[in-house]
């Protein structure tokens, strides 16, 4: 009974259990495929880009905002990165250029949302399509290759011969953001803003400034992800980052964050992300047609959203159930 109650109430517990169960099931189903080097690396690389962004996005959603442009910002900054490299600029300067691009997008988003007051959903929805179109238009819908060989080392250099730098950086990002959300005064303000914005303003929190910074950080991390992705594939494709928005938002919802803000945690979002990636991996390994992928993730999103919205009711019913069975024992 206690376990069941914890299952529904303690989201971190639930997520860890579900992920472990999932891994166990996958190992039982097809150990050789799941534990193969190709699969592990595939899993690691598919999750790494999203991990870099998810910390920033979680803090943004805790403050009550949302950023649908992350996928397109990945593409946009990857484009800037690729163009700079192609015109002969050194890798370091190109990185700075791409980062500036990402921060710029974030700043525009943040300004429109925090200072002009347009709904974040519509702003970033428009931005999503606008940026992706810009990427396609400027790149001429064609890919680019032929980057300096040294670039690959950014993503693929293997520490201790097995761990790529990409994933190490991603893990560091998740840990850093989790620590920031727990300890850092500035980032903790997001909880207050998300919980009750007028109250936060009255407390003296510079709400608009914090929101602007949130969006700029999200833009920055998207740019970082774009750089790593370009380095990993040693190529630029106009579609890079297309699925990121959906995956990250689903992951954060699975992690228990509320859309209106006030709650959420980076670790839980990461566990949600892991779960989403496992779903895709499971579909590939079990031989289920890959077409089921989007349908499954969409279904999971809806179910988790329902669960999130109704947890208090479920918890109350579970408590009643527990109480009634205790009463019976006494008699």
């Amino acid at each position: 009974m206690k376990i069941l109650k914890n299952f529904f109430l303690n989201r971190t517990f639930t997520l860890i259990i579900i992920n472990i169960l999932f891994i166990i099931i996958l190992i039982l189903v097809n150990a050789s495929a799941f534990l193969s080097k190709i699969n592990i690396y595939g899993l690691i690389f598919s999750i790494a880009a999203n991990m870099i962004i998810i910390g920033a996005m979680t803090s943004l959603m805790i403050s009550g905002g949302i950023d649908l442009t992350v996928g397109s910002t990945i593409g946009f900054s990857a484009l800037i990165f690729a163009l700079l490299l192609k015109s002969g600029i050194s890798i370091s300067i190109a990185i700075i250029g791409a980062l500036i691009g990402g921060v710029f997008i974030g700043a525009v988003n943040g300004y429109i949302i925090a200072y002009i007051g347009i709904s974040p959903f519509i702003t970033t929805l428009s931005g999503w399509f606008i940026l992706r179109s810009i990427v396609f238009l400027i790149s001429g819908s064609s890919s680019m290759a032929g980057f300096p060989k040294a670039l690959n080392l950014i993503s693929n250099y293997k520490v201790l011969e097995v761990i790529p730098t990409f994933i190490i950086f991603a893990v560091i990002c998740v840990i850093v953001f989790e620590v920031l959300m727990r300890k850092n005064k500035f980032f903790r303000q997001n909880f207050l803003i998300g919980g009750n914005e007028p109250a936060a303003t009255l407390l003296g929190i510079k709400v608009r400034k914090v929101k602007l910074i949130n969006y700029m950080v999200t833009g920055l991390m998207s740019a970082v992800a774009g750089i790593f992705l370009t380095a990993r594939y040693m190529a630029f494709m106009p579609e890079v980052g297309s699925g990121a928005t959906f995956q990250i938002i689903t992951a954060i919802i699975i992690g228990g964050a509320s859309l209106t803000g006030g709650e959420g945690s980076v670790i839980r979002s990461f566990l949600g992300l892991f779960f989403v990636s496992l779903i895709t991996d499971a579909i590939a390994i079990m031989g289920v047609n890959i077409l089921w992928n989007d349908a499954f993730i969409g279904a999971v999103l809806i179910i988790m959203a329902i669960l999130n919205a109704n947890t208090p009711i479920i918890a109350r019913n579970l408590s009643n159930w527990e109480f009634k069975s205790q009463k019976k024992q006494k008699i």
């Binding site: 347009i118 702003t123 238009l137 349908a295 999103l301 809806i302 919205a309």
Partner: protein, 329 residues
Amino acid sequence: MKLLFKNFFIKREVVLFLVIVLLFLVVGLLNPKDFFSIGNFKAYMTIISVRAIVACGMTVLMISGGFDMSVGGQSAMLGIILGIMVFKGMNTTISVIITIIFGVVVGLVIGFIVSKLKVNPFMVTLGGMFLFSGLAIIIAFVGGGGKFQDQFVTVRPLTAIHGIAGGSFHGVEYIVFYMVGILIISYIFLKKNKFLRQNFYIGSNENAARLVGIKVDRLKIINYALVGLMVAIAAILKVSRYNFATAVADSNYPLEIIASVIIGGASLSGGEGSIIGSFLGVCLLTLIYNSTIILGINPAWYTLLVGVILLMSVLYNEFIRKKFVIYKN
């Protein structure tokens, strides 16, 4: 004269109409041969008709403050369901009825999740968008006998159903008549029907509406079902007109339809909206798309423009209609 300017020309619908006329003239001047051809006219009228029907349902929904991002997925899925049924030789009338029922049921479920289970509509419809498109592809795959028909997961030919919307009456396609009919019905209903008019109250102030005794939950569920119904009708007409159903279409639907409705005057939080405005919004966006084809411009410009226009419309709403003030730091 000044009064005329102030009261008439500032009206959104009028501005939209003038913009459309302007667009017509500009593109017409640049490429009169293609733009003013009968074939082109039929092409974009068909697209406008299909989208306008969905936009009617969406307008009602957005007036109540909700929105539905899954219309693209719904359209693909319903189209494929219809396509598979007709392909397998099922009676066309029954297929149509089943498709409509499907659309309404999907809408009812979404409405239920949004109103009774209190989930944010963005989350549900975002999930729905991917769920339905995924289902559409799977149904097409399975229904097509486990292999891809064409490379676009398409079902064709569906001549059996062509009769519904395939012909034309004195040169004007049937589909246009359907659209006009639905537009008129929607317009009258929204203006006169007490039940649907309640959407305006819900959109303006949901709590107040509840206190006044309006059955908010029931109305919201009906709104979503209405959207589902409209999507079903539009999908049926589209499949019938073009003779095929494809699972990979309409991925831009949500953006375009929502943008059309907002351009037409709806506010995101609800309380405002108009059928005529949405219709003009659909016309404008479709004509812009048509222009990119006629003038040979990269279609990515179209998506870019839609995003920009959407943003501009929302900014316009905030600034001019609500007299918003930019915060000075």
